[in-house]
């Protein structure tokens, strides 16, 4: 198997409502990634598109206007992890020698969904009016109960990620918020206020994957050290923690590193409680401590050690579902290249991306992915 790299990355900035349709947003992102990789669109021999709600064959429709026809197009749907799972498909093709220049694109015009992502009609919780934040609010109340936590520990996640997003030109939300503002925002479901729930957004992001020993001349490649994806187990405690821990163990073993080696990570934070679950199950914080540590200033830009969600996370960047995973990848690529500008994590050499997708009632989640990027030594 050949080692793979991300040779190029591009993003169409996330906004509340984009003037372009999904196909055009995707084209802008993928062309930016191809330019970054110094690869011509005609040389791409695998396309992987990730989206949750876009029309069927979104990839073919996007590519038709570019005249980029003939190569395999794989359209993936794994809820919010659609794009990140797509990366593993591209890596597998490249590693097996089945593709030389692969492009992974995530796109979503989520503004069409309104203010929040609905639960599906076939879910009786959805029919009864239950929403995603309501379900995660249950987990938040239990977390605060189990670990003697306070609402401020959750709210601090939003303060940190919005502070980071203010430095990210591709983020939807460019204004910082205070702890008081987060706590005083309209309540969605106790204890999650509106500023603790990610907002839908429109946008697209893309990365170019090639073999490490066949990277394009003129590219600035970032090694992909490990990719691990999986689907959630049917468990008696439907929290997305065991799958994350399982995938992290596999990814860290494959990469030959551990959580203490990671300098910068984009982890899943659709709701503040999820950043705590994610940080703890990835091994970045002991169980029950992530909220306290974030409230104390850990994991933020400017603090020593690991920085979480320097691009703003889903809370700050906004959440065009299928595009969020590739946007996480774009952020880590920029960080590891030293191209992140005002939000640069000094000396970042090893990065991680973690995405969760889906909320089937009986599963811990529908899909998840952990990607390790960079240099281990």
């Amino acid at each position: 198997m050949r080692a793979a790299v991300i040779a190029g990355a591009g993003i169409e900035p996330f906004v509340g409502r984009h003037e372009a349709d999904a196909d055009e947003m995707a084209r802008r992102a993928l062309l930016a990634a191809l330019e970054d990789a110094a690869v011509d669109v005609g040389d791409v021999d695998l396309w992987v598109f990730g989206s949750r709600f876009e029309h069927p064959s979104v990839g073919q429709r996007t590519l038709c206007a570019l005249g980029a026809t003939g190569a395999p197009v794989i359209n993936t749907e794994n809820a919010c992890a659609s794009g990140t799972v797509g990366l593993q498909v591209a890596v597998a093709y490249v590693a097996a020698g089945m593709a030389r220049r692969a492009v992974v694109v995530g796109v979503e015009k989520a503004s069409a969904l309104g203010s929040s992502v609905p639960l599906p009609d076939w879910d009786r919780l959805g029919r009864a009016g239950v929403t995603h934040p309501a379900k995660y609010a249950l987990d938040a109340t239990r977390y605060l109960h189990d670990f003697d936590g306070r609402a401020e520990h959750l709210a601090a996640v939003s303060v940190k990620n919005r502070r980071h997003a203010a430095l990210n030109p591709a983020a939807r939300f460019r204004q910082e918020v205070t702890l008081d503002e987060v706590l005083a925002a309209p309540m969605v479901a106790d204890p999650l206020t509106r500023l603790q729930c990610c907002a839908n957004a429109d946008g697209a992001a893309a990365v170019v994957v090639t073999a490490a020993d066949d990277a394009p001349a003129g590219a600035n490649p970032v090694p992909i050290l490990a990719t691990a994806t999986g689907s959630g187990a049917r468990v008696d405690r439907p929290l997305p923690t065991t799958i994350t821990a399982r995938l992290a163990a596999r990814a860290f073993a494959d990469a030959g590193v551990g959580p203490d080696d990671v300098d910068v990570a984009e982890i899943y934070d659709a709701f503040t409680i999820l950043e705590l679950f994610s940080a703890e199950s990835l091994g970045f914080a002991a169980t029950g401590t992530a909220g306290r540590r974030i409230a104390a200033g850990d994991f933020g830009l400017g603090s020593p050690g690991l920085v979480l969600n320097p691009g703003g996370g889903l809370l700050g960047r906004g959440h065009p579902l299928g595009a969020s995973g590739p946007a996480q990848l774009v952020e880590i690529v920029q960080q590891l290249r030293g191209e992140a500008g005002a939000r640069q994590v000094d000396g970042a050499r090893l990065g991680l991306v973690h995405t969760l997708g889906g909320n089937l009632r009986e599963l811990e989640c529908n899909a998840a992915a952990v990607i390790v990027l960079g240099w281990s030594a």
């Binding site: 009786r124 919780l125 029919r127 009864a128 009016g129 239950v130 929403t131 309501a134 379900k135 609010a137 249950l138 987990d139 938040a140 109340t141 239990r142 109960h145 309209p186 309540m187 969605v188 479901a189 106790d190 204890p191 187990a233 049917r234 468990v235 008696d236 405690r237 439907p238 009632r361 009986e362």
Partner: protein, 101 residues
């Protein structure tokens, strides 16, 4: 009132009913009416106009059969308290405080 399935091999209970036991892998499961009593695992007030009056209660209860049920509530429930299914509304259990009869 609440139906699920129980594995005849290892005894694990599932709701909604499963075809194959996720604990032991057995296909030998039988439909069963599950116990309506349990312990509140989590509770929240949902501030949404999807139901009236708003806010409305949502809870997770671990039943004495070992399954985790989502359901509505008519009032606040405390984590760790006993609760039981009082009725079914919109195809969802509605939990009330205390043990069932």
């Amino acid at each position: 009132m609440i139906t699920g399935s129980v594995c005849n091999n290892c005894g694990a209970a599932w709701c909604p009913a499963a075809v194959r036991c996720a604990s032991c892998g057995s296909f030998d499961l039988a439909a069963k009416e599950l116990r309506a009593d349990g312990v509140v695992r989590a509770f929240t007030w949902v501030h949404s106009n999807a139901r009236q009056p708003s806010p409305w209660g949502l809870a997770q209860v671990e039943t004495d059969d070992g399954v985790l049920l989502f359901g509505l509530t008519d009032g606040p429930l405390g984590i760790g308290d006993r609760a039981t299914v009082g009725r079914i509304d919109d195809d969802l259990p509605v939990f009330v405080s205390g043990a069932g009869s």
